[in-house]
Structure formats: structure tokens, C-alpha cells
Amino acid sequence: MGRELSHEEATDLLGAYALDALDPVEHQAVDAHVRGCPPCLAEVAEHREVAGLLSPGWSKPPPGLWDRISASLEEVPPPLDLAPVIAMKPSAPKAPPPSPVSAVAGRRFGVGIAAMVAAAAVAVIGFLGVRAIDDRPGAGNDDRSYAIELQRSVDAAVAAPDARKVELVSTDRSRTAEVVVLPDGTGYVVRTNLAPLSKERTYQMWAVVGSTPISVGVLGPEPKVVPFKMHGNVSALAITEEVAGGVVSSRQTPVVSANLQSA
């Protein structure tokens, strides 16, 4: 799909959307429509209310589960407060960014990556003459308006004086991903030289908050320009290779990473 849905197309999919029965691309398209359509939003809420009634009763959770949840709350940091790294020339006006990719935002993944990411050096880059077009698979004429809006947002973010620019690099420094992050946590993958993946695989981006890696977006098999959103005091960023659609927990070694705290 990959294009903006008409109201009729979206409503046809609302039941499947409410039951998480869409593929990632369709889910994202319906999600974009629903967020701006109060009647559809209300219908989805109704469907989910019904689905909740079908749920299989009540099972006593394991005794130690709450203790683990409670213990993890102590690690919750204050809201994101990214200090600016580079003062860019404030030439371009700020434009509202498009909604970030959020297919699996907020999901944890396995331990181990945080330490690896922490060892990576942050690289602050110039972003001069950035060329960024949306050439994701499936992006055609129907995606032009989205691509234009996205490009405007990226340009504004790159030019913003309080934006932070970071380069994620592989351990052998052959692979890179350039990222810009605004103080409100809105970010963009601006450019990468990551190796293209098959349609069954995807790159996925993670933000490390405390010791917990949080998914901030599924980037697709050939990421170029992708918006994302992150929350909390992010100490590092990493991109892993995962199965298409993304994962909740990753055991993969990051393809590229950057430590934000060493800047």
C-alpha cells in the first residue's frame, strides 16, 4: 500500500486494524488515517472494547512479576533533554514534522547491546549539502506529497539551531547512518549507506534509555529518510537487522551505533 488511504478504504480495514490483523504497511497507512479521523478513531475504540470482552478471563500473574516491573520503574529517567551539540545556521524555517514511524515504538530488546553501543564513539557530522529523498520500496507518485512533506521536515530539522546531529557507525566504520534529533525527541534518519536487505528483513532503530534499549522505529530494508520519535534520556542509538515487521526484543548485534553521552 504505502499511499494515503481514502476514508472508505480505511474504514474497510478498521476491524482488522483493531485486531492487529493488518500487515505492517497497511497498519501504518490506517494508523495515519485514524489519527486524523475522529469517526474512525471512535470505531476502532469500539472494536477494541468488544475485543477486550472476548479476552480469556483472568489468570493470576506470576508472583515476582510486579516486583520486576516495580524495580524497572526506578530506572525510568526524567523527560528527554538533549543538549544541542552543534549550532547550525538558522536559515530554514521550522516546519512541523510528519508523524514518526511508531510501528513498534517503545518495545524493549535484550540486554547486551547497551554496553556495545556505549563503547561506540559519537560522531558529529556536518550535514552540508544533504540530499534526502524518500526512495523506500513502494514509494511512487502516490507518495510524493508525503515525501515532500518529509523532506521539508528534514530540512527544517537539519537547519534547526538546537538540533543534534549524530552519525551511527559500524565497528569497522564502513557503514554509517546519519541522524538528526530535535529537543522534543523527534528525529530523522537522514542518510545511510546500509546494505540493502531482502523484503523479509528490515533495519530497526533502538534508543537506549538507562540500560533499556527501546525500539523507536522499523526503518525498512533500504532506509534512507525515516522519521522517528524517542522519549527519555537517551544515552545511545543503534540500528539492528531484524525480520520484516520488526521485533520486540532483539539479540542482534547492532549494525551501526552511537553513544550520545560522550558528545
Binding site: A16, A18, L22, E49, W58, R108
Partner: protein
Amino acid sequence: MCVEDLQDTSDAALVVAIGRWKEEALAEVYRRHAGAAYALARRLLNDTVLAEEVLQEVFLRLWNAPERFDSSRGSLRAYVLAQVHGRSVDLIRSESARRRREERQAREEIPAGHDIERDVIDLTVSEKVKEVVAGLPTEERKVIELAYFGGHTYRQVAVMLDTPEGTVKSRIRSGLRRLRTDLAEAGVGVTWAES
């Protein structure tokens, strides 16, 4: 706000308290809804470890981003269960979990045409809900069960049932709408006005 007060507090007010970093409010939400959430995750994943992981993630997310819950759009129970369902489905569709699930299904030799109606009815907690679900047209009940409890996309359901995709997505929607109407007529509340 003491623990005794919290027990009489509405879900919406609890979420407001969570937004003010009141851990006891999250504990009360856990006390009220973790049982249903755990039952759903375990049912979907058939794996207690993964189910615990999903619950931990969902409650941590509620702590980190309570503003995502809007009490004007639904109950906290439905919100939590939707979060659990979404995370669980992601796991089901992930490579490793899918492999494990397929291996388990192969061991159990589940026939392709198992009794979906019974599956759904056994899983519903309320007698009234059971009655309403049982009264749903079979073709609508099947697609909802396969999508909701099986974690399948509607396209996958279409293949499984040898039915056009458009028909499946229409049946999911019409089935859910029919359920809502029938549940309301049966006196089972599907409204979510919070005090």
C-alpha cells in the same frame, strides 16, 4: 493518595496519578487488570516467559507514557488488553517465536479445522458474552477468532479459509459491530464512561 483511596479510584484518575509518578497508582492498575492481560498474553503466546515479558513491557510503557491512554476513547482495561494483544502479535509474527510456535503446533498435531466456536466460547469469561459469541454467524466468528486469538493477518485468514481477502476484512468488521450491538442488547457494557 493512600492505597485505600486508590481502590475506589477510577481508572482515568489512576492514569492521571501515574502521570504524576505515583507508583502506587500503577500498582493498583496492575491489581485490577494484570490478570486479564496475563491471561490474554499467555493464550496468544502459549509461553509464560514471553507473556511475562509482554506484561512487563506494557505496564512499563503505561508508566512512561500514560498520556497515550485517553479515557474518552475507551476503558483502561480495553487499552491495556489492546497493548498486550499488539505486543503479543508482534512476537507471534517474529521469526523466533513463529518457529517455536510452529514446532509446538507440530508436536500437538492440531488439525487445521479445529473447533473454533468451542475455542472462543471456552475462552470467554462471561456467560452473556458466551451466548452472544455463540449467536454470531459462523463465518464472522471464524475470522475474528483466527485474527484475534491466532494472531493472523486478515490476508492469512483469507488463505486459511480459502475466502477472498475483501470478504474476510468485511466479516471482521461486521462481526465486531454485530458483537457490540448484541452485547449491548444483552446488557453487557461496552461503553467506557469514566467517573
